[in-house]
């Protein structure tokens, strides 16, 4: 197993590197498909009153007059050395812009993940304890409901009720702890749906397994059965799910941050898209891919160590399919 595992680890790391490189190129190409360049089109706004000659000189400053492959090569060789380039709009180094807002998004994403996990485990636990006829059906409908409500509606609702009606937090102090909590709820609810679905499905699966009956036949009560037997095998796939929803947390942050007035990666995406600030957008997408790939790499490498049954690379596909289908 050990040599096998080492081989597997090396192969996965190499795959991850290839994916990151391809993701960078893919994003660059997609973004550059855009006809014309964003700087020119903004400068042409008549209110600015620029002459064509002035525009040409400004565009040359940003290097936008060069062919795409040349721009890609330059941007990529800088990216490899950790230089993310300079924003077309703010004129600031992109790494500084991202660095400034990153902590806020990390806090939000981590809180949202915590909310999602607490919610998921609470609901899953509820389905074990509530009577089948009444409470359970409602609980089981939760993930589906969570996935059906647009996250911007959740956000608007939370703000309306908790900030304006009840005055629990100040919207202008978006980084405050309660404001962060509610933003995390808005962001975490759809994520929790994914975790809950997998968790409930696994709990049901495990509880239906023969070993659960056998354990009960050894006189184990419901709680000890849950804690000692069902919890671990059911929660292990959650590791993989968490790795998969990292992307969802980043994507959802675009809307959540906009609604809650937070300044983070999400609102930076929103700004750089509306202003076509390509270097910023490129850097964020590339970094998101790096984060996603690294987190998943980590999950894949750790999983076989947590679950004695699993051969490297096996469960991942199963859980992925489950998540995809949920």
């Amino acid at each position: 197993m050990n040599r096998h595992y080492a081989n597997y680890a090396v192969r996965r790391v190499m795959q991850a590197v290839v994916v990151i490189v391809l993701a960078y190129v893919f994003t660059f190409v997609v973004i550059s498909v855009l006809p014309g360049d964003p700087v020119t089109s903004t400068l042409r706004n008549p209110q600015n009153g620029f002459t064509e000659e002035e525009i040409t000189r400004i565009v040359a400053y940003y290097g936008l007059d060069r062919p795409v492959y040349e721009q890609l090569w330059q941007a990529f060789s800088r990216f490899v050395t950790g230089d993310l380039g300079v924003s077309l709009r703010s004129g600031l180094p992109v790494s500084r812009m991202i660095g400034e807002v990153l902590p806020s998004t990390l806090v939000l994403a981590a809180s949202a993940l915590a909310v999602a996990l607490v919610l998921a485990f609470a609901i899953a636990l509820g389905t074990r304890y509530l009577p089948k006829r009444y409470g359970q059906g409602v609980l089981r409908a939760f993930p589906s409901l969570f996935l059906s409500v647009p996250n911007f509606v959740i956000g608007l609702l939370l703000i309306q009720v908790f900030a304006f009606q009840l005055g629990l937090f100040r919207v202008i102090d978006a980084e405050g702890s309660l404001a962060t909590f509610f933003a995390a709820v808005a962001l975490g609810i759809p994520v929790s749906a994914r975790v809950t679905e997998v968790l409930i499905a696994n709990l049901d699966h495990e509880a239906g397994q023969e070993y659960a009956s056998v354990a009960r036949s050894r006189g184990l009560g419901r709680t000890r059965l849950f804690v000692r037997h069902l919890l671990k095998p059911s929660s292990l796939p959650v590791v993989t799910v968490i790795a998969l929803v990292v992307g969802e947390l980043l994507g959802g942050a675009v809307i959540t941050e906009q609604i809650f007035g937070r300044t983070g990666i999400g609102s930076l995406v929103q700004r750089s898209v509306t202003t076509q600030d390509l270097p910023v957008l490129q850097a964020i997408v590339a970094l998101a891919a790096v984060v996603f790939v690294v987190v998943n790499l980590f999950a894949d490498l750790v999983y076989p160590l947590l679950d004695p049954r699993v051969k490297p690379g096996e469960v991942r596909t199963r859980v992925r399919a489950e998540v995809a289908a949920s």
Binding site: E210, V214, A215, R218, G219, H229, R309
Partner: protein, 544 residues
Amino acid sequence: MAPQDRLTLDRAEPQAAPVREPGSLLRAADLSVSYGHHQVVSGVGFGLSHGESLALIGESGSGKSTIARAVLRLGTGRASGRVEFEGQDILSLPERRFRPLRGRRIGFVPQDPGSSLNAVRTIGSQAQEAAALTGERGTAQRKELVLQTFAQVGLDDPRRVYDSYPHQLSGGMLQRVLIGLTVLPRPALIVADEPTSALDVTIQKRILDLLSELRRDLGISLLLITHDLAIAAEHADSLVVLKDGVVQDAGPTTAVFSAPESDYTRRLHADVPALNPDRYRHLRTRRGGEPKIEVSGVTKVFTVEGKPLTAVDDVSFTVAAGTTHALVGESGSGKTTIVRLLLGLEEPGTGGITVAGEEVTGRSHASLRSIRRHLQLVYQNPFTSLDPTWKVERLVREPLDRFGVGTRQERTDRVRAALESVGLEENLLSRRPAALSGGQRQRVAIARSLVLRPDIIVLDEPTSALDVSVQAGIVEVLVSLQAELGLTYVFVSHDLALVRQLADTVSVLRRGRIVESGTVQSVFDSPQQTYTRTLVDSIPQGFA
């Protein structure tokens, strides 16, 4: 898990003192269990005394496992009636008071040892749970108890077992672990739900013997759930025969076995291969014709995780036209690989295979097609061998379409004829496999293999996924078709009793090698090898 303890029963019954009479330990009366509106057990009653054993016999859907679970209150169905254990009606006990009985007084041995232990915890940590039922507090002492018990149930290296994860042990070892954990707290009763049906034949016998031994030595009563009449007769003092949740026959083993009251029991008796070695003799016309299949010196080596694994090692046998040759072996004996080699699905490393005079090895897909017209395969599991999206008519017609046989009308006629020959009604033509029973599906699979009118059919454990009575029907069809069409069969099976019923010649396989071969008569009556003898001995004899 939903609570199943909301049972409303007469609880005014006095707490009778245990007496030594039939049913003094466990007595069920008018027991019914239903899932939703579907009643699966109706008014069943039986009794079991201290130190005795009782077998509940039935095919799938007979409700036997449901009853076992009702006794342990592990099932999800609603039970009504009465189940007295040591004089106490356990159906009406609140869960809180019943739970102490589980494990301590009533033990449970499950069907599939592979899935009956938590895969992410070590055997030892789960064994601790069982040891705790003895009241022993110290972990070290409990471990000592566990290790002793493991030794007692015949596990060679208790310490290694203790530290292992379930997937690191074989099925037989796991079943020993489970039995050990069950007897550890010295319960009064063990409920064993088909404890051996997932195991190889030789191990089956050893496990059953172990159970009987423990019962004798420790004075534990046994409630044995099984579909195998022969096994039941061998290991139980009394029998209850169930069909569709209703008792068909009950009483001491000798009585039920030798003079069954119900038709069902009689039919069941007749369908068990072990008890009727000569059932199909009248249908079998032995014609030692030309050799249809010749396998000579075939070896196949696979590479698994970088290591070579010899699946088939220098195997040779011939099958005469119109006869049945059986390949017998336990799991891992290489019998499936031989089938795949025969069909050209694998290339042998060395050796040659000739089918109907044509060399199979080293041929292209296209030229193999012509051989396959003569050579058809019936798979083990009819639940996976039929495309679930296709209808019966199209499933059976597929070989005709692929080989472009006849006109459309001719094909339709041949499909109908094939279905008729396997005893299926025409109205099934437009059904999909999901709407068929297991036996019907296997008949469809056989019809599909017949429709091209091949000379040879390879039958890869064609009945192992089916009930005995269904199996009997299928075997009947196979045998009469052979008589009618002069087919040659290669019959792969782990069930020696079945082989004895329908094969002419046999090769006994072990770890890829043929250990013994010859006519069925000679191999079964006077086995030369120890292994063959063990196999033959493991055929249940009914009650001895």
